[in-house]
Amino acid sequence: EPEVTQTPSHQVTQMGQEVILRCVPISNHLYFYWYRQILGQKVEFLVSFYNNEISEKSEIFDDQFSVERPDGSNFTLKIRSTKLEDSAMYFCASSTVSESDQPQHFGDGTRLSIL
């Protein structure tokens, strides 16, 4: 069964540094998402992406964050200048269509640790 893959599994970065988290969505999926989960808290929506542009973003997704689909397979989340509070598990997800009854498929996540 096809899966969403994320790399790296764990990223350790100094505060203030830029970090790029990478995701390869399932190949025939058209809608891509990033979520994050701070330790001990719930999974939170960050952003959705369709047709090479952001379709929706949450209040968490400020100017420090950006997403890109640089080629036909990768979907990246960039944090420009990391802060301690960016430490979290970041999940990528994808889905075939936008209907709300269609499930999103998640990757294993990248654990981001900011020092």
Binding site: K42, S48, F49, S55, D101, G107
Partner: protein
């Protein structure tokens, strides 16, 4: 704004006992609800969605609009059911994707 509440962070039952994981939601539209499961060190996986009205691994969940609930139930819990369970509500925007709003999660432990 939509909200999903799972009142129990931890739930512990014995093997063979019935289990019910509670989920309540708040949403002004017509809700689409899901249960996701995360086994130890594994990814979030879709367990079931209300629209399909199916039973997966013996689990069922019924949408009760009057009580705004979507509780997950299994009549006889198994040890392999031990995992983190997340209730999620989907909000859809026309042709541009959907957003999942998750509950806090319930860690289910099934003891032998």
């Amino acid at each position: 704004a939509q909200r999903v509440t799972q009142p129990e962070k931890l739930l512990s039952v014995f093997k063979g006992a019935p289990v019910e994981l509670k989920c309540n939601y708040s949403y002004s539209g017509s809700p689409e609800l899901f249960w996701y499961v995360q086994y130890s060190r594994q990814r979030l996986q879709l367990l079931l969605r209300h629209i399909s009205r199916e039973s997966i691994k013996g689990f069922t969940a019924d949408l009760n609009k009057g009580e705004t609930s979507f509780h997950l139930k299994k009549p006889f819990a198994q040890e392999e059911d031990s995992a983190m369970y997340y209730c999620a509500l989907s909000e859809c925007w026309e042709t541009s994707g959907s957003r999942l709003t998750f509950g806090e999660g319930t860690q289910l432990t099934v003891n032998p």
